[in-house]
Symmetry: D2
Subunit: 352 residues, 4 copies
């Protein structure tokens, strides 16, 4: 059985709170150290945090004294989860890795780093081996693993079965993203109540690049990106949780009919199914037949927010297929995805 | 000066109410006859209608007795606007045209009819000439003109300048449509509050075909469609008014740079500007430079809801350009568009 | 151990679906018969229902053939839950009771009936004894028990501790009610997105009367109502689940200070705690100290949607106290409340 | 004819922007000076402001260079409107008044000041005379006039006719307030989308006190407050504009029937009707007979956002009457109310 003491960096933020909530009663991981800004350091967590989760603040962390995000404070943890804002994640995560503390990060800073795996367990579990090539710490004991942007998760999850079956040529995607994706306080209500904002800063670049690394191949001490092209538009809509993507895709060897396309999803084998990871959804990809599904409000929480939904699968009259895909952006697309990464790495023995 | 007595078919519905509101104080058109279902016939309009507009029910129509939608009841009008539901519009509009009463329709039923112009004054005013070829009535006094679907309006408005400048090859569009597009009662709140529904029945077909007729050419007694391809996804979002479209487009002779693309919109000449029609916006197309614009809640009402907005214009890394476009779906995309059509036809002398 | 076969009347409606969802995996009750309108009768449930719950349609009911709501079809059940619309509940529930089938109803029709208990287990469990006085069936085997309106539930739950401690004189309440309270399709989105509707038909009468029966006393074969006065205003707000009430209350023997008022809630003893009913919340009343709580979106689901929340408890400068209270309107305020009633009656042996 | 050059303090904030928008094309007032924080000072207004209004930023102010809020910079204006945040309004407004510049303020800081009139032209125009008693400036040339909180405006507008007819004894009010009331960025969308927040800091005190000053009497150099009692609960709801109040009221001499209550509103005489002020609504109070009206989204904009709506007027079974009232919180309840105050004072010759 696995049993790890872990730390959470950025524990008072929106993503940090989601880590805390998802780690409550986790069979393998126990949060024993919480890191936040100098402003919060020294306070009990329950006094430092503006709790925005639906569930109660877990009793076992309520009285933990918040530390600053310095490796010296986290010597007794096996690894840390990072929910840090990208404005500070770069330096802090590096300092932890150099100090020999593995960092399972949700931040964007190292996603494109040569030696850092950008990991979605069901998509590219083998990329984990890049960890061994990392040179952050002299003895290799400290390293960084990242999970992708909240849009790249359902996107790559939907692309993997199609790529395996037909080969991806190119795609156009419009992501309709919920307000929780901007954290707290995040999007002002005056901007989004009964409205759509057609721009999310920095988002489209991530959506256009991350999936080409996720579906790429580890070669030596780096990752060879794929050469397919993604054109993305990211907009904000007044939903709470669940990013919904509208995708039009061209394939190298298109399916003969829509039934064959459907089977690419329904027959797809989850490469980590046998590992039986605690946060792993029984059905990682759910194909909805009803035209009106999936919907963020109804389906984002399916399988604890870890399932990726596909719907509206149909022949396209320009590109080969059209479909929508959705995943819970703060669970599967952030904290939950990072936890699943840690479970994979624990199962593979990366934490020694 | 123009002065016409007009009738409104489907006057108690959502589109009908918008006709009534927009015709209040119209300089050319006066609503003197209101048609609705048998259930409403005989009642005063103010008693038959469940008024959902923000403005007061106009006093001048409040006491008009509602008639059934039969041409015999509308002998004293110069023409009728039709806001009828497609389930009944086919037979009723035909009956009016055969009886010698011109029909300016918002319904979909005759949009694809060989002899019927699908008209957006700024896009294809010359298509009006098809009217002369119509054979609904023996003497040609009765005819039908239609305006396109509420998504096809901003789409065709945005495609026209690009087509003139660069030639359209193909495009992918995702339309994020407001709840008013479904009429009243329309979308149940349980389906759409804090949610997105990834399907709107019948919508995508219209979006994929109408623009190819709108940008086509009248040849003899029919319209030659254009051969560019549109792949559409239509979703419902919790906005009130204004459909926002995300577009990725491939062009025959792409612009050298984004500035040249911008000029295609800013230098475009409105072909009906000189007609000075009452409902014609001074600036039919508004190009927003701010990334966060246009937004349905803030900009759908610009120029009385008759302006089409363009934003996020940028180079695409798969197709040549990406942009968003938006128009007020129940004004520019429905009643207001039909009224502008009638104004064009009045100015051109089609009402004799 | 209890084990009952039960039927659900109105199984395809919004309340009926909630019954189906809450009865999935229920330790005592198994849904074996589903009743709906003639239109649905004969179809498999999965084909007759427009499922609007977040969870999957339970496999064990999916293929049950829907019956018409006639007692002859329900001979093999121990009792039925009724989620029928009030337009038909009166006759149907009577027919079942007369035929010897107990009816646990969420409909309003018999709430004010002399012999019918209006029941909230934590508020007036002793009212169940009225069942013995019922004369619907000759041998007393058939009877009706009702749960109150979705606003009266949190209202009576909050009034009970105050009444026990200080005695209720009178109160003013404004209930801000979620859209799920109107069922499906229910409230048109055009009426409620970014809006408030200051009226809910028939609601205020129920709010003003039901709590005076709930806190009343069974005398002989009827219930003596209490004489305190409630003035209610019911408005619709764009929330999904959870009715929030703003209450100003005058008490017979006001508390000396706010701390004493707080203790009335925190020290209150749940009269059915010892019965350990499956759907009974550990903490039926939760007093929130944070000014910004409770909130429908964050807290309606607490304890499976069965907990009543109190917040903003403070001295009033006109009436003695002010507070807000909230409960999940379709669980605690409807199907869940009815199920808890049935559990109480099962524990007390009313189903023989 | 009146013609004044005016300044706007806090011009880049949400209220300041509303001042700018409402003053565009104002027949009497021309904005020539714009004041904001040190951070904005020196920039052109169009570059300093994050414009959130639906209409275009008015061309005539776009290039005005923003000044710091110091009287020395505003020597050439006849008076200033203050949309300053209360955190800075106290000192700045005092400095302007002492320097001989009249301040028409929307801030709360001086509303309860003995010598400062809290003014709603239709409610207490005679309170303007208090200006003559002010001692901010040695020669009386500088003074301050305030408009009430956005809830107190519709509340006092609805209380005035009832007080004139029946005398107010006491009332309970729950105000359901729109997100625009919190300014920009204001309420985080995560807090309010599909939710209600049962608390607005500092709001209830204002609602409970301001109306007793507004309906009070000027005696000598101060205002004698009225002695009726208000118990208020202020909650935030996801509406954009328009605060809706639910009121239960006890009267000294209650009307015999509801018709008499109705007449109190319909027969009420607007004391400033004869002044014909530019921003004065033709019908300051609109009584809606339809149960479902008024609604924020549909009716807040009536008469340019300056009309107060009353609805649901009915007999109460505890207090004498129940009704709802609503006004546009950022127009009638803020900038528009301040402008109407200035118009009244201009008409009365207070600006010399």
């Amino acid at each position: 059985m696995h049993s790890y003491q872990i730390g959470v960096l950025g524990a008072t933020g929106a993503v940090g709170q989601k880590f805390i909530r998802l780690l409550e009663d986790h069979p393998w991981f126990t949060a024993t150290k919480l890191g936040a800004s100098k402003r919060s350091a020294g306070k009990k967590y329950k006094h430092a945090v503006h709790w925005v989760e639906k569930t109660e603040l877990p009793a076992e962390v309520a009285d933990i004294e918040v530390s600053e995000c310095q490796s010296a404070e986290f010597q007794d943890v096996d690894f840390v989860f990072s929910g840090l804002d990208s404005s500070v994640a770069g330096d802090i995560e590096k300092e932890f890795a150099e100090a020999g503390i593995p960092v399972i990060s949700n931040a964007k800073n190292y996603r494109m780093h040569d030696q850092v795996p950008l990991l979605v367990p069901e998509v590219n579990p083998e990329h984990a081996e890049l960890i061994k090539k990392q040179t952050f710490s002299s003895d290799g004991s400290g390293w960084i693993v990242t999970n992708p942007n909240c849009v790249s998760v359902p996107l790559s999850m939907s692309l993997k079965p199609l790529d395996d079956a037909f080969g991806i040529d190119s795609l156009v995607v419009t992501s309709m993203q919920s307000v929780s994706g901007a954290g707290y306080p995040g999007v002002p209500s005056l901007d989004i109540v009964a409205n759509v904002v057609p721009y999310i800063g920095g988002e489209e670049d991530k959506v256009e690049t991350e999936s080409t690394k996720l579906l790429g191949q580890v070669k030596g001490d780096t990752t060879e990106f794929r050469d397919f092209t993604i054109q993305a538009t990211a907009v904000r809509v007044p939903t709470i949780e669940g990013h919904l993507l509208s995708v039009a895709i061209k394939l190298k060897n298109p399916p003969a009919d829509i039934e064959e396309a459907r089977e690419a999803f329904t027959d797809w084998d989850n490469p980590i199914a046998d590992l039986d990871l605690p946060s792993s959804p029984k059905q990682p990809i759910r194909l909805y037949e009803e035209n009106r599904y999936p919907q963020p409000r109804l389906h984002a929480d399916r399988e604890g927010g870890m399932q990726t939904a596909i719907g509206r699968l149909r022949k396209g009259n320009l590109m080969d297929l059209g479909y929508v895909t959705m995943a819970h952006n703060t669970i599967r697309g952030a904290a939950g995805g990072a936890i699943l990464n840690a479970e994979l790495l624990a199962a593979k023995g990366y934490f020694g």
